[in-house]
Amino acid sequence: MGHDLTIEPLGETIHVEDDQTILDACLRHGIWLPHACGHGLCGTCKVDVVDGEVDHADASPFALMDFERSDGKTLACTARLLDDVTIEAEIDEDPDQRRIAVADYAATVTAIEDLTHDVKGLRLTLDPGTTIDFQAGQYVNLTIPAVRGTRAFSIANPPQENGHVDLQIRRVPGGVGTGWVHDAVKVGDRVAFSGPYGRFFVRKSRGGPLLFLAGGTGVSSPRSMILDLSAEGYVAPMTLIHGVRTQADLYDRALFEELAAKHPNFRYVPALSAEPEESAWAGERGFVHEVAERVFERRFEGMTAYLCGPPPMIEASIGALMKGRLFERHIFTERFLTASDGAEKKSPVFRRI
């Protein structure tokens, strides 16, 4: 059961369970709303109910006044949906965000490539006459019959190529979903996905130098972004640091090297964290954040950074960037939240990172 909740000004719609609060649902979907006490006393999470009915539940009469209740306010941390609801919250509007409606797509697997020993590249080609509109960096939810559900994968191709989506999928040891992709999917298979989702996209209107930090298959979003920016003729410096374990785990190297040769403002830095010391690798060694600190001499002020990869890599990178004086306003991250992620204890110091 449950109801749909649309959050303005984002225009995004999410599903909320019957006993779930608006705040909980939003945080679990990666939508940050201002909040503090979490149980209806302080009023920090006050939002406007533009449409639909909510139950204010335990909202304190001092934190949510009678006149506010009749003016259509509620507290996100206590309110439950009685209906499909639209709220307006104090979320900064992003001039670079395009509103693209999520749609269901049917596609055919037209290519499968072994990018490394455990990463496959899949091309899902849409039916003739169908195209997909998306912002570079967004993802799709691929329907996986083996788990009767979906898994999220970032789109690796740029939006200029709108007749297909390329996905880069690593086999998660013991993972049913990625196991299905690796073992069962064949060229010619029909697949279904929905999208595009996510707010991980380039804030192009800000201009200035860009830093992309990617771990493993987390490079797929930056790949799409960099190809898109290059195609549009972005002139400010762009750097991609792609971290993997060993040379055997590195892929798309030729593509990025070629791009760097063609676009002098683009710099490509592959980084290996577990390459045997005696190997012939002459490039950077170490974790992504360590390499970033070396390359930029611990000074990141003035850049905008896009981080995509496993949570420890993102956490370490945020730490390095902040020590180098790049703060939340200029750091964007992509991490796929699972149901348990909203439960981790976070202080209200940071909103997105």
Binding site: P9, P34, A36, C37, L41, C42, G43, T44, S60, P61, F62, A63, M65, D66, F67, E88, E90, I91, D92, E93, I318, G319, M322, K323, R325, F327, K345, K346, S347, P348, V349, F350
Partner: protein
Amino acid sequence: MAPKKLGLKQRYAHMTRGLDWETTYQPMDAVFPYDTFEGIKIKDWSAWEDPFRLTMDAYWKFQAEKERKLYAVLDAFAQNNGQTGVSDGRYVNVVKLFLTGISPEEYQAHRGFAFTGRHLRGAGPRVACQMQSLDELRHIQTQIHTISHYNKYFDGISEFPHMHDRVWYLSVPKSFFDDARTAGPFEFMIAIGFAFEYVLTNLLFVPFMSGAAYNGDMSTVTFGFSAQSDESRHMTLGIEVIKFLLEQHPDNLPIVQKWVDKWFWRGHRVLGLVAMMMDYMLPKKVMSWKEAWEIYFTEAGGSLFQDLARYGLKAPKYADVATADAEHISHQNWAVFYQYTHAAAFHTWMPDKEHLDWLSEKYPNTFDKYYRPRWEMWAEMEKQGKRFYNPSLPQLCQVCQIPMAYTEPGDPTKIAFRCSEVGGETYHFCSDGCKDIFDGEPEKYVQSWLPVHQIFQGACGGATIPDVLNYYRMNVGADNMDYVGSPDEKLWNEWHAGKAREAV
């Protein structure tokens, strides 16, 4: 397509534009003379994000309705003689401690934020400080109104402003705020805005308000809710200010770290009064101080400082010592007040067996070993008519102004003493935390007005205890001494005898 509706943030920006300007008749540095001497560097005041987006017009409307609601409850409480329905006559001593020890600090906070708002040159923090200043004024006013009803029946609160400036234990919270208010504007913001209103606020208000709720004191619960609805702004301001300072310039980090260390420790010492209240003074217990510390500091503070570590800020120095203290601080404070009950404006008592068992259960590591035997001995002495009073005056810590009764970290049988020498004089401290604070700014703390020193210097009405109590305006035999035998107890027993008669 219809023109797009403005977002809340844009609407606010349009309503408040032009609040700030560069002065021309006078240089900005002359108009704002205090926001540079602390060494804090601000490169861009406009980077301050106003987290509230509340206009003064809306502010008045909200606060007016909060007041209407609160006073409706207070009137009902008074009309229904709510004071007779609290859990026990002892409970009122919690309210006394709050009104005498905490409420005057709301007024100090009001003055501090008014001053600080005036002296920060950014419009965003100025408006936030102005609103918080008004909030604090509202808080003290509603607290006085709430508690004035108790004053009709119970002793010890009628002279609270006079006592606040003189009485030995009230100098503990007073000196905390005096210290903050005589610092520069940025230190005040870290001290009160961040350390007090953000890191420690839940340890102050939740125990008092939950305590009131558990003990049938609806009027205090209601002012608690009313005040807490303002806290969202205060907490957000506290977070905003520390982020702002840390992001503005790398040179700010060591300064802010020093303030965080200092104000965490000072706050922890003041909260010892709350610890004692929770463990000893509430007839119906909410949770132990140790449990509250675990939830509100160890867990919540842990995630806070983990996030702030990204800025290079460390958890407060001595946070580990404070956590270890949570096993002892309430017991050691209650021991002090029990011994000096003749000089305190609220009543004390030895816990009964049920209460002792609760303490044994909540403090399995320490209570039976270090405190229960002492309480049992003192109870036995009471029975024999030899109730123990300490006739001497205690030595006070030069910084926190608490009697030197706390023990060494790791050895609860040995009193901790620290000292520093400045200008040929020796100054004494209860802990490494307080000594560090003194050593960081000795020229400030050598000036402390220490109640016991003042008595010995003849500044407090005379040399004997009756002289000093007279100077405190303590109504001897009513305001002070044990609950058992007090006019409060007599009145409470009469009410309940009356209720029992009606019930028959």
